[in-house]
Symmetry: C2
Subunit: 225 residues, 2 copies
């Protein structure tokens, strides 16, 4: 599904160059369930933003379903993101002026689903993440963990074949976190390819593979026994 | 130091009233080290915002060092916050247009410290949280866990007698999280009163008392053996 070859992402800050990703090679097969771990600042979110086609690498090749993303226009990338990829952001990235339900409907707006059909599809996903009684709250009227679950619901609503979740349980208590993990594991059993950034070893232990980053590079890539 | 008596915080959403805190009683002694736990949406951040004088309760009495905060003006409250309370927000609340260092200096701007003295005090605190090489980055040029550590440094810089930290390690790997916890435990040993909202049982185990919330109320308040 995905091939990364010698991918780098650099930021220039004045005279200093920061190498957020330094020459990363990674293959992701369809149906994988991967955990990405590593210290704060090691490049996990940067890697997820490249994988999610949200950020172009500084150099290197990225093949998504055998298509080279550097050859795609911004519009083509946006189309791939909307049709193929669900993304849960570490900072949620909810739209503050819209209700939780409208935020979950956003991917369906982009793909041209009618208003009534959008609501019919978004309501069950809100209930699935335990927020059936918070649908008309705006993000500022929700707790941190509730916002996180809205962001998860939004990533799921379009049934994407690839789901990228950047620390989806950081703001959740163990029970809510376990419920989210069960949702992800079930989706994986239905054939969804899932990549989760996590600091939680309990979540990593339920994945098939664990990739560990340090200082912008992959230092281990192991199958979970 | 703090007495909460029958504190409630309600939000009206159309015809529905949401009771984020429902009749909470809580005493905090000077020098306490308290963990606040509970499910997502149970009222932890709402309680912390009341304790931190950031949000006025809907009803009930709040005595801070024997002064009734409902009798204080907004200016007086702001003065209490700046002089007495360090607050680490669950969503960091950094100012996006300022560098990390300038964000850490903010409490000192409010208390009238000169520009050179501010920098002299803020730099060591940035190094203490492991971000000596990220001082001139803006928040958007930092990872999630790095932003969280800037928010922690900002709460510490004015040496407040009371430190409130709302999920200070949610975005940190176990090693960075342990470093932050050590900073907090050391401050406690120097006499700082500390209240930490956490979902991490390892952090709760290092506190002296654990308070558990559910649906806006305190369901247990126990000393850690
Ligand atoms: N401005 C608001 N308007 C309406 N409801 C609100 C508002 N702010 C918070 N709430 C509700 O109050 C309840 C408590 O919120 P709070 O942020 O205190 O929870 P929390 O325990 O910190 O949760 P988390 O662990 O997810 O951060 C939640 O159910 C939330 O939906
Ligand atoms: N826009 C930017 N400009 C400069 N440096 C950046 C920028 N974005 C990220 N960085 C740096 O790149 C490195 C990797 O950041 P990244 O967000 O990928 O880390 P992370 O592994 O997700 O960390 P965390 O676990 O704290 O979220 C960090 O050291 C960060 O300071
Ligand atoms: Mg990150
Ligand atoms: Mg909270």
């Amino acid at each position: 599904m995905i091939k990364l070859q010698n991918i780098s992402k650099n930021y220039r800050m004045g005279e200093v160059e920061i190498c957020a990703l330094c020459g990363v090679d990674l293959d992701v097969a369809s149906g994988d369930l991967i955990a990405i771990m590593g210290p704060s600042g090691s490049g996990k979110s940067t890697l997820m933003n490249v994988l999610g086609c949200l950020d172009r690498p500084t150099s290197g090749r990225y093949l998504f379903e055998d298509r080279e993303i550097s050859a795609m226009s911004d519009d083509e990338l946006a189309h791939v993101r909307n049709a193929k990829i669900g993304f849960v952001f570490q900072s949620f990235n909810l739209l503050p002026r819209f209700t939780a339900l409208k935020n979950v409907e956003m991917p369906l707006v982009y793909s041209g689903v009618s208003s009534q059909a959008r609501t019919e599809r978004a309501v069950p996903v809100m209930e699935k993440v335990g927020l059936g009684d918070r649908m008309y709250h705006k993000p500022t009227e929700l707790s941190g963990g509730q916002q996180q679950r809205v962001a998860i619901a939004r990533a799921l609503v379009n049934n994407p074949p690839l789901l990228l979740a950047d620390e989806p349980t950081g703001n959740l208590d163990s029970r809510s976190g376990a419920e989210i993990l069960n949702i992800l594991v079930n989706l994986h059993q239905q054939g969804v390819t899932i990549i989760i950034v996590t600091h939680d070893p309990n979540i990593a232990a339920r994945c098939k593979r664990i990739i560990t980053l340090k200082d912008g590079g992959i230092i281990s890539n192991e199958t979970v026994p």
